[in-house]
């Protein structure tokens, strides 16, 4: 295979589909009750040094409860895959959890501005970076989901993004045209927040699925947090709606308001005040540490965090702000 050009960043994960197949061969297929606590899921499936990917899109449909638990468990040296990662990335930077990251969008929180702390972390040089684009990462996950070692696209051609990536430029055997070969990536673990799951891990998502369908299929382990658990019959009565089937899933945790302070379509809007507070306190490292202690480290559960942030009154306000709540 002629390689015309290639990125100079290291690949953090092995793109060999047969290695992944060996893992999946042994993954249990029986429909068993997979409920556990956030702590159990992090203990069991997110060890130090593992390669993690988070579902949703930055501060939309994110599994906040598991992210907080990762911080409390003082996880270190994690790998990370993030297309548009915003509050999730900000949290993992706050916990100094990261070692090497495959990313397309970091540090920022979109229209809200940039995270001073995440920026400090990423400018420190202590975290290895491999650059991609949102679509390139989507193709990498898709290739893994397809059980092959690479996918092709025309992203990154001609740019420095390509130079600082782990991609290779090849020629099409039919047309001779150039394409970017993107190596498949099988994350060790993915954490995805959904609207509904049964106890086996069969999931429904309302609204956009971002890259989570590809991610759930690419990841070796999948932790699901769900706004609500539903009976298995709710799955079987309308199988067209199932987007993640049980055999991909290793843990199921019911976490109402689980995407807070992020947005959850059809449920509640993001808490812009709380997210703005993050950006503000991050400017001062001492203040930031007190903030983290108050909201994460000295907190024993996600419910306690929700209470600290304003409890039911706040959540009712966010529900009112959500354009898609059925009224």
């Amino acid at each position: 295979m002629n390689i015309i050009e290639e990125g100079q960043a290291p690949l953090f994960m092995n793109p060999d589909p047969d290695k992944a197949r060996e893992f999946f061969r042994k993954k249990p297929r029986a429909m068993t009750d997979k409920r556990m606590t956030e702590k159990e899921a992090v203990d069991m499936f997110i060890p130090d040094g593992c390669y993690l990917a988070i579902g949703g899109f930055g501060a939309n449909r994110i599994p906040t409860a598991i992210l907080h638990e990762i911080l409390r468990a003082r996880r270190r040296n994690l790998g990370f895959l993030g297309h548009t990662s915003t509050h999730d990335f900000q949290l993992l930077c706050a916990g100094n959890c990261l070692k090497k990251v495959d990313v397309a969008y970091i540090i920022g929180l979109e229209a809200r501005g940039l995270s001073p702390n995440a920026r400090r972390v990423m400018e420190s040089g202590e975290v290895e970076v491999c650059e991609w684009t949102n679509y390139a990462l989507c193709v990498r996950l898709r290739a893994a989901a397809e059980g092959v070692s690479f996918g092709i696209a025309r992203s990154m051609l001609g740019t420095d993004t390509l130079k600082m990536s782990g991609a290779k430029v090849i020629e099409c055997p039919f047309t001779g045209k150039r394409f970017v070969a993107l190596p498949a990536v099988w994350p060790d673990v993915a954490v995805i927040h959904v609207h509904e799951s049964d106890i086996y891990g069969n999931c429904h998502i309302r609204g956009i699925s971002v890259a989570d369908l590809e991610l759930a299929r690419a990841a070796k382990r999948v932790i699901i947090t769900a706004e609500r658990l539903v009976d298995g019959y709710a799955i079987r009565i309308n199988p067209t709606r199932t987007v993640i089937p049980f055999y991909l899933v290793d843990a199921v945790i019911e976490v109402p308001f689980g995407s807070y302070p992020g947005n959850m379509a059809y449920e509640y809007f993001s808490d812009e005040q709380h997210l703005a507070q993050w950006l503000k306190v991050e400017k001062d490292t001492d203040e930031f540490q007190r903030f983290l202690d108050k909201y994460i480290y000295n907190v024993s559960s996600f419910e306690e965090y929700l209470e600290l942030c304003g409890g039911i009154k706040k959540l009712k306000e966010l529900r009112k702000l959500e354009a898609l709540v059925d009224r």
Binding site: F57, G58, A104, I107, E123, Y135, E214, A265, S270
Partner: protein, 258 residues
């Protein structure tokens, strides 16, 4: 028509919105591009199909999204899909415009949103491509909306995050990018710039009412080509301003950034 007082950001967004023709498709980045697309949908392009990279398609935007993945991006939308769906729609050639921002832009329309300074020891780290590189590679015409100043408009960007005309005529094609694509317009708070059909260098095409050519040149870090027929960009209409202020950005997230 009498025109109210307006600020530079309002001028920029209203001007950008007018470039979106009705019945076309546009992929938008976060912030000002999103505001411009929403304004266009409410004023001059009711059948504008707005595409959000996270999966939202053709919403009837109730307010400006804060994130290109928040629930407003598919409020009464035609489809709530995923990133793969929206990006491949761009890949297939179905998307007319990309509407983007950028930290640095050079004379060939290359965009830097990754780092200022050396890559490994950056002076400033920015978010990176997100979906911008993909949009700038696949959509037919890329338009950039950005505040005009010398640090942003530079001879050569420190890092090409998203492709403009790269090193000049023929470079996109040589790199393997789809034929017939590339930067189309740059809309700033001072002027509208296009690209010279042969040299592919940035070219001042219209200067906003009340702005002098000198202002444009002083705020540009390189010497842009000046079109032989530079026009004056008309100011925002009352309707544009009213919709922008009352419907698009009542929280003044974008238009309040002066």
């Amino acid at each position: 028509m009498m025109t109210s007082a307006y600020n530079k950001i309002e001028m920029m967004i209203c001007t950008a919105a007018r470039f979106l023709e009705d019945g076309t498709t546009v992929a938008v980045g976060t912030g000002a591009p999103c505001a411009a697309a929403m304004l266009a949908q409410k004023v001059n392009a009711p059948n504008l199909v707005i595409i959000f990279e996270a999966g939202g398609l053709a919403p009837l935007l109730p307010q400006m999204p804060i994130s290109v993945g928040d629930s407003r991006t598919f409020f009464r939308g035609i489809m709530a899909a995923g990133m793969n769906e929206m990006m491949t729609t761009c890949c297939r050639g179905l998307v007319d415009y990309a509407f983007l921002g950028g930290a640095q832009i050079d004379k060939y329309g290359n965009i830097n949103s990754t780092v200022i300074g050396d890559y490994y020891k950056p002076k400033v780290r920015f978010p990176g491509s997100g979906g911008a590189n993909d949009f700038a590679s696949f959509c037919w015409q890329t338009m950039i909306i950005a505040v005009h100043n010398q640090t942003r408009f530079v001879e050569k960007v420190d890092f090409v995050t998203s492709p403009g005309y790269l090193t000049g005529p023929g470079a996109r094609e040589a790199a393997g990018l789809p034929a017939g694509t590339g930067p189309h317009k740059i809309i700033t708070d001072l002027a509208v710039m296009g690209f010279h059909p042969e040299s592919k260098e940035m070219m001042v095409e219209s200067i906003h009412q009340g702005v002098e050519l000198q202002d444009v040149l002083q705020n540009t870090g390189f010497r842009p080509i000046i079109s032989e027929s530079v026009k004056t960009t008309p100011p925002p209409s009352d309707t544009e301003l009213k919709v922008l202020r009352e419907e698009v950005d009542p929280g003044r997230y974008i238009i309040g950034r002066q």
